[in-house]
Symmetry: D2
Subunit: 417 residues, 4 copies
């Protein structure tokens, strides 16, 4: 790291030596940003970019808000210029007219972001800046314009062709492991012993996506349990005293936790790709695996039941049938599943495999879903058609066994043949 900053340090020092404009540290972040946009060559760009990022790192929330408003207002597109360019192009679609549109349609803040991404560590800094921006949108909804530009750029930079899949194991450096502990969002990791139980045994795996410019920062990770059967509770999966199995003897891979790590990458989706790539990776390494399922929470079940039926408790049968009903019937305004986790997995082409009461007895699990959980199944041979039936016909696809068993827990007929 020290080595990579050499150029930045040097240029910054040299840059400041010139008397004219005074020290970088004396200039406002807006002034520095404009200077960075004005720089023609690449000479002082790195120094200026570093100065902007350094300044930003020390700003209060109020100052950050002001900076975002500066980006939003001062570096906005000029609609008049764009309008003229479009008209020219309409008259005659020349190359030069086309270039003019491209220039006028892109606000200068986009180019600023690209130029900021020069010093070492800048990519992470910009991702963090976006997280601040998302928070700031609550105060000034108009900042959503600038956020669109951030999102556009980050989608391009975090294009899946650039992502790297890495296994996280007990051989992984502690620097990264402590981030896994920090970022786990579904079933909190208690301590290093708990972490070890999830990473070290032969029948446990963890995979994460990384970006080459942020080699120590996972973007998203999934925890996997290998087992003989499909598990019906998270307690069992995380048990300290469970029997361990040889990976070669297992039949089922269970994705029991998937966590996004970077708030600043909201809207840049990695989850679907990660699951599918891990399915492929595990299939290759352990060809005897037959079934790939999740063990997923049903985060909005309790709230929906309370508002729908006024119901707040019941026995295991009630929990299970309520959960099934919720997963099949509860819809949002657009007619999609009301449950966000269901929306994610079904949208990926997964199908409901089983629903379990008493599956998550943690305070959080009881509070959000009366302890119910669900297995979504990823069958690579069906993903494509499940996905299309879901998107085009809003159909919720079910595994045959689950479908056949539905009569007993769920009377109404609602599922297409």
């Amino acid at each position: 790291m020290a080595r990579r900053t050499t150029l930045t340090d040097m240029l910054q020092t040299l840059f400041e030596r010139r008397g004219g404009r005074g020290k970088l540290a004396d200039r406002s972040i807006e002034d520095l940003s404009l200077a960075l946009l004005d720089v023609e060559g690449e000479v002082s760009g790195v120094a200026l970019a570093q100065a902007v990022l350094d300044r930003y790192a020390q700003m209060s929330n109020a100052e950050k808000l002001a900076f975002f408003q500066f980006l939003n207002a001062a570096l906005e597109i000029d609609p008049t210029a764009l309008s003229t360019a479009v008209q020219t192009f309409q008259n005659s679609p020349t190359v030069s007219a086309y270039r003019q549109i491209g220039r006028a349609a892109e606000p200068r803040r986009q180019e600023l972001l690209r130029r900021l991404n020069q010093p070492p560590g800048a990519t992470q800094a910009l991702v963090n800046m976006r997280a601040d921006l998302i928070a700031a949108k609550a105060q000034d909804p108009d900042l959503a314009r600038t956020d669109l530009d951030f999102q556009h750029l980050l989608r391009s930079w975090f294009n899946r062709g650039f992502l790297v899949l890495r296994q996280i194991s007990w051989d992984t450096p502690a620097t990264i492991l402590e981030k896994i502990v920090e970022y786990e969002a579904v079933h909190a990791i208690q301590d290093w012993d708990d972490l070890r139980r999830r990473l070290y045994p032969e029948d446990r795996r963890c995979f994460a996506f990384f970006h080459p410019s942020m080699p120590d920062e996972p973007l998203i990770f999934v925890e996997v349990a290998l087992s003989l059967g499909v598990p019906n509770s998270i307690q069992h999966v995380l048990s300290e005293n469970r029997d361990q199995r040889n990976a070669q003897d297992t039949k089922v891979a269970v994705f029991y936790s998937i966590s996004n790590c970077q708030d600043g990458l909201a809207g840049v989706s990695f989850g679907s790709l990660l699951i599918k790539q891990v399915v492929a990776e595990l299939s290759r390494e352990l060809p005897q695996l037959e079934t790939f399922v999740t063990l997923s929470p049903i985060p909005k079940l309790a709230g929906w039941l309370a508002s729908e039926d006024g119901a707040t408790a019941g026995d295991a049968d009630w929990v299970q049938s309520s959960a099934v009903r919720y997963l099949l019937d509860a819809k949002d305004a657009k007619g999609r599943p009301f449950d966000p986790v269901a929306r994610f997995h079904l949208g990926n082409g997964a199908q409901i495999y089983a629903v379990h009461a008493g599956a998550d007895l943690s305070p959080n699990g009881l509070a959000q879903s009366h302890g119910a959980m669900v297995n979504y199944q990823y069958d690579l041979g069906l993903i494509e058609q499940n996905h299309e039936r879901f998107v085009q016909d809003q159909e919720i696809c079910l595994a045959p066994k689950f479908k056949n068993g539905l009569g007993s827990v769920y009377k109404k007929k609602r599922i297409s043949a």
Copy 2:
């Protein structure tokens, strides 16, 4: 590599199994491209992207031209929709109106390129596609519109924050070394012995930029000789029998060859950054280094002299004074130096350090510049101000010693004080 393609292969197989649309291999590349743009989720995207790239790889030049014309015409922006969006925004700059402009101003071919960049190896494939496109522009200049989109995307993806500087040495894998031999554009590398002479000795260095998605493909590289004094001929630098020095004993770093490797990255400039980063790297490792210069060709000198003076030969004095005159006086239509290499280095903030006759006695050297070469000096402390004087005042900066010596070889006064 084999591992990374697993998902692609699997998805492609599964994708094809579905009867409906027939085999991927039976569909046209245009059809596949449109399908890739229509895919909502990420399910079959990788399979489709791979199919497009596979198809492209087998196409003739005529077919490629047709494909580029399809991109240029069928995936063009809709100026009417854009015009409407701009008007809406002018009336009320809402977030939604802004989003509309962003969508309408970006042609669908840009999104296609981003979606193509999914399978392993796609980034390189797209860079190569751009090289084909540049060639195709000669036949259909309108393709420059599509080329602008390629360039825009590649600039974003090959943003300097993502580049990796690596030393190329005799410890580098042969896979990469044979590309150095292939790409060397200035002083051809004869064979592996010649390559060894440039990489192995302690007083020779080579550095290259790489992109994480193309780890075996250098983007640009520079060859460096460490020496006691500033060399006045390339023959000496490349001599088989020269004395080698301990790196610690040298005073001067000479950049004697810099080669771009990827035709498809034309317009995405790396050279200035590479030189400056190598200057910083060498300064750190060998703090005793005092001077950083190039030993550069003067590619258009002979042509210019012929057309200007009708002169085609002369003694060493004539060659030197002519070269000096050419470097200081010959301008292009925009008032910039006529010589492209001079334009590059002076634009980077370098200054002319010395001009030598008899410096490149190879057939090519004699033909293009009567054997003259020039040292441009990179003085980190002056780069910034040299750059500004060059850009703002079109001034060609000179090292003091060179300036003082000018009287003897160059009578006219032309240099600002």
Copy 3:
């Protein structure tokens, strides 16, 4: 790892397929060992070695004792043969007579150990076997003969030319970090937070020696604190709330804990080399460091005072002056310092720099030394002469400042000029 065992597994399977001698698993470890010694070529050697090590791994302590006694008796040298060989050589020192001596003087168990070291993991298995042997010596002191052979071989294999120094940091895999926690023998590491405090901050370092055949097993490690001054208590060094410093700003490197990790390598000393190599490494990285000292326990102080004076408590002055007296005066039967830690550091050429009361207030620290600790200083420029004065004249070398201050805490004159 899986890959490296392929050959072993294959050969073992094939080996067993031959009807003749029956399954490897049915033969005694003594039988297998003799077979391994008889194997001429290398064909089945790996399979036999693996079988011996597998068998050994499952044996009870009583069985291990029996196996060691087998090595000690059945694979002993034949003194008569050796005697004859020596006589022949005395008559005429021919090459062939010399070869005969070499063969007769080396017991077959040495060759057995070399042949056992073939399958992956064998080196570690043999180190562990030696640890068992050392324990077994308590029951059968004659096993010391076999132990001499183990030690001889391990000294040759763990020759310092083969050791690899690696920094242990927060970037080190958890696999290795958990061993650091386990092996820390001086100041126990409480948990991962404690470990992080010793590894992560810029002013903390840890270095270990590894052997290439045991890449996940440290042999010995030392923990280092970088600070402004020489610390006078371990509480301060390990404090959770101390101020951290930039490594570049520190002046003193403190070796506050050094732990051997492998019981089976007793008698193969790494400590002196490790300290000196770390001194060199830190001097290179941080040239501003001026002083290299330990902060060492005085393990036998309390016991010695009790037996010498019957004293078991006192104030800080008493503790300090008693500690000084002990370090300077208490000798073992051979006239060397009675304190084993003092013997180690002074033997390495270190000198006493300071003695502190109240320096280790842990129960263990109070029990063993009434809380006193000592700084030994490693001054590379004096190491050689200190070492010689210690070895030849049994002189305990003192840092000048400590020597000058002695008058106040220690009246008697005892130190050579």
Copy 4:
């Protein structure tokens, strides 16, 4: 590398600063060696070892001979002391008597070699010293005593548990590749294009053993061709224009060249292990492979025929039947095959698979064997029993097909049923 020498340099400088004995550079290598043996601690050992190795590196052959004679005479065992120790042990086999024997039976030069192996690069230096010693034995056969000690130590250090198998490919650093070119002893590599043809295609492989202390120096390597059938000529294997195959489609692995790289490791055999480990490695990666054979020279065929029959030429039939006769009948004084290559492979448990005339038409091939070559087959399932039949019964094992076809080319019955 620079980093690893820091300690050595430092200690050497410090060592010399002490006035007493004068500069290391002023003392004789014998004096330095004795000092190294006298050093008790580890303080100056590294510095002295480096001084000895530096001195040695600059010595003439005559000086080296003198140094070896010093090792051989001055550092010899003391047979009287050994005799006494043996007698003591015969009277009472105590631990201390046993230790005495161990000390007296080992010449001090062995300890010297172990102590020399401290500075970086020492292992390679000692291997090279052994190569010089082997050469010096021609002048002074008594040096064989010292050579026995070298060999003993190197066998222990290069124990197979410490060897690392690495694939050599076109991704291997040029530093190592140029050594492959240099060390290839069977079928010379013409240039880098030739090397590329042997490493780059998917149906060509190369594997080497390395020692961790000599990471850039292969110890032995084998070149492998993957093909559909067993090749009958080296011309075909090395042809520039042959068809390449997918590795997955091949059935036969041909070991067509195996070269030892280090003269100084003569007598430390790696070949048998390398072949077997590569067989295991390829079986794992390409489970469809059915046959593992060599394509081996018959180096002493022509000489034997000339001396036996006076025959010096003949047609292909004569060459083939002569080669078969030679391989089956020609024996050395101990009754083993006269041909050294046959002795090696048959001793490893291989069996004769086929004999070909016209198989090596190079000048060397024609000169040594009238162009004949032989395939030895490694069948892991038979290796063990072939090896035993060869060792115990001096039987030359034959593949069934070869045995059955023998009638036609070889009349005499000579092979056991």
